[in-house]
Symmetry: C2
Subunit: 309 residues, 2 copies
């Protein structure tokens, strides 16, 4: 069994690569829910949905979120009514949120609902929300000192604003979803996907049980750096690392993950940094990590599986 700690796009690509080299049923992804949002009364799980849509092959590659071939009539009408439309919800995408919100109202849990949605979409990878409790990634803006939700920061402000801190509201009391700790304990290898360390993986580790379980498996935990040649492939990971006092480099990633991992996979572009990483007591594997196509993703998946002890 393989266990993957997952954010959005980067994790989704890696999961696609892994399922090309190992049966999907053997993969469990523990997915960030810190950026979940309630919009217009609908419960939205952006990272779970990105992973789901990508694994189902229906994701919108251009936007990096939502469904391909989407239409936007609901949002167009909502705009005419004067409603908030900065969080764009496609007509087909809305169905996912309607389904989830309706099932939550019926008393179903996020794990069960996620399984229902992934099953309906023909996905065999086991997706587990990190927690069924509410954990909210909150961001404090540098200039105003205002604290806003992650989606306000990420989507409304297009992460084009400096921040001074990130907090995971509710995480101290949050329980890991049932199956999450066992998946970590029983995995042959635990992989931290190339997702944003500070706002995609950190919320997963903010759940105490999960952080402890991963630490206990440290010798079998491998992270894939989301930073390549000092820059994030997508999103603001590089800026965030700088703003929050880390280094926007593979060394910075290594240091940030140091308490949880024994191996860091970095891109060939960062070959020169391997020695620095090894000097931190972290094994360093250099390979092609930029998953521009499914072959590279599968190759990366293969490399990762080769790290199983």
């Amino acid at each position: 069994m393989i266990c993957v700690l997952a954010g959005g796009v980067g994790a989704a690509r890696l999961l696609n690569g892994l399922k090309d080299v190992v049966p999907a049923e053997e993969i469990t992804a523990i997915v960030n829910t810190g950026d979940d949002a309630i919009m217009h009364g609908l419960y939205i799980c952006p990272d779970i949905d990105t992973v789901t849509y990508t694994l189902a092959g229906v994701n919108n590659i251009e936007t990096g979120w939502g469904l391909k071939g989407e239409t936007w009539l609901a949002m167009e009408s909502l705009e005419k009514l004067g409603g908030e439309t900065w969080f764009n919800l496609g007509d087909r995408d809305l169905a996912t949120h309607l389904y989830r919100t309706g099932r939550l109202a019926e008393g179903a849990g996020l794990k069960e609902i996620t399984t229902e949605i992934t099953s309906a979409m023909g996905i065999s990878v086991n997706l587990l929300p990190m927690t069924e409790d509410r954990v909210e990634t909150m961001v404090t803006l540098l200039e105003s000192g205002d604290e806003i939700s992650f989606q306000e920061y990420f989507v409304k402000h297009r992460h084009d604003i400096s921040i001074s801190s990130v907090r995971f509201n509710g995480s101290a009391e949050a329980q890991a979803t049932s199956g999450v700790v066992d998946a970590i304990k029983e995995a042959e290898i635990v992989i931290i996907a190339p997702s944003n360390p500070l706002v995609s993986i950190a919320p997963i580790f903010s759940v105490p049980e999960i952080s402890d379980a991963v630490k206990a498996r440290k010798e079998d935990v491998v992270a894939v750096s989301p930073i390549v040649a000092g820059a994030a492939l997508k999103g603001p990971a590089d800026r965030l690392l700088n703003e929050l006092g880390h280094e926007a480099s593979v060394e910075g990633v290594a240091k940030y993950y140091q308490e949880w991992i024994s191996t860091l996979v970095i891109d060939t572009a960062d070959f020169d940094s391997a020695e620095n990483i090894e000097s931190l007591g972290i094994d360093c594997v250099v390979t092609e990590t930029v998953m521009a196509d499914s072959q590279i993703a599968a190759s990366l998946g293969s490399t990762l599986l080769g790290l199983k002890r």
Copy 2:
């Protein structure tokens, strides 16, 4: 000022007719909310929406609900996910429910939200939800004895099932929306629209303040019969009247409304019943009431305004 007690389609047509003969600003409609439903977490007001869409000229005439030129991508996707789709929500229509649900979550009241939506759609008729409290029209099925919500009865079962009773859950404690009682008190004439007496108008009267206010204006209250020649023009009003121990006739309507009205307007098809109605102590006006086009609706509106004392 004109005050209209309103359900869905019949009321919407009458309101359209009235606004052709009197400035829209002078009309206040008190709209049934007993058939409001929460579906997939969204708060839906079918009667308010039917009236709104009709007054805005964007209603779907064929279905009698929803918007014209609608698309159904959200529902198609929801069906693929295995979600409940018996309550059909068009993509553009969804925007109304998203807007309302989001504003309710922000703490706005149903009156304020309704005004925001009608203003955005260019409507000058003043629409007031009968109450901002939750009143739920509940229907008990004859055979099973099960009690179900009005929308389950009306839409899921297509009202093709016998019922033994109707109840308005929460009505005893419900307050009339602010402005409702004043609108009734100050109106030159109070009109009961040709809506279903038992499930569109009765829920409005189930709010004690409203029933009392209308009774106090009895001499100025005129109802338009929704029953023509023993049949409902639309929906199950005739069957419901029979099933619940009333007569499916203009006499049955007159008796049902007796404590609230001084005048009943009936269709020319029921000319022969005028005498029976007068014998109940109710003035009877015979005119064309089947609003097949806007001219007939305006003519009916004109007749009603002529009944002002």
